[in-house]
Symmetry: C2
Subunit: 138 residues, 2 copies
């Protein structure tokens, strides 16, 4: 297996509503029309949105209905940008679960939950350099 | 917010065991020694592993203990490679939850769960071209 993640798909209750939320954050749906799924370029990975029941069925997993131990991170270039992004996502309907603060690893971060409960960390890491597409190469 | 996902972090029960599993699949830990987290380059995104309790606390979410509506996809270049990857991950201790089959969208895919229950789709999509780093640009 070559080491890579190609797509991260989030199960959602209402595809149109979830797509509207991520569109408000700046993501753009590039899936072919009528495909029943939303696909957005998220830097070096595709971010997908799909009906949560369909995703569970497709993966043959039992859906417990809660958080399942996955968090996405959106890294930015400064502490101020962490604050700005958290304000922006809150205005778009996200719930801030941890306000921005200094972290034990010398960075600055906060966390929000999207309308379906998926956790996103918004983080500034002074040791990381963002590539032009926003990805990080360690 | 610029549209990007920088890191996908999977909460795990045993960091050493999970790191060993992903190492067996070809991922390589590039986190600084002693950081208490595993970070692996996953094409255009970083794949992180962290203690699930710590991840839940960091994100201020309630952990229901099950699957939480997120799936990762690992795309490959041929149907045969789907079969080969599924055989490889099964040998490394993954559970195949859906054997490889033709999909409604004209591709070929199967699904496995890692030892912590995180769902991975292994997929061949004839309409997608993989970049040199394995990422897909739509």
């Amino acid at each position: 297996m070559e080491p890579r993640v190609t797509v991260v798909t989030l199960g959602v209750a209402d595809l149109d509503a979830a797509t509207a939320f991520y569109s408000a954050l700046g993501f753009r749906d590039v899936a072919p029309p009528g495909s029943g799924v939303t696909l957005m370029q998220g830097g070096g990975v595709l971010l997908g949105l799909w009906d949560r029941e369909h995703l569970a069925e497709d993966c043959r997993v039992v859906d417990s209905g809660g958080w399942g131990g996955v968090a996405l991170a959106h890294n930015v270039r400064s502490p101020g940008e962490v604050e700005a992004v958290l304000a922006e996502v809150a205005a778009a309907g996200a719930r801030i679960t941890r306000h921005a603060e200094e972290t034990a690893w010398g960075g600055y971060s906060g966390v929000f939950s999207d309308p379906d409960g998926h956790a996103w960390q918004v983080a500034y890491n002074p040791g990381w350099v963002l590539q032009p597409d926003g990805s990080v190469r360690l």
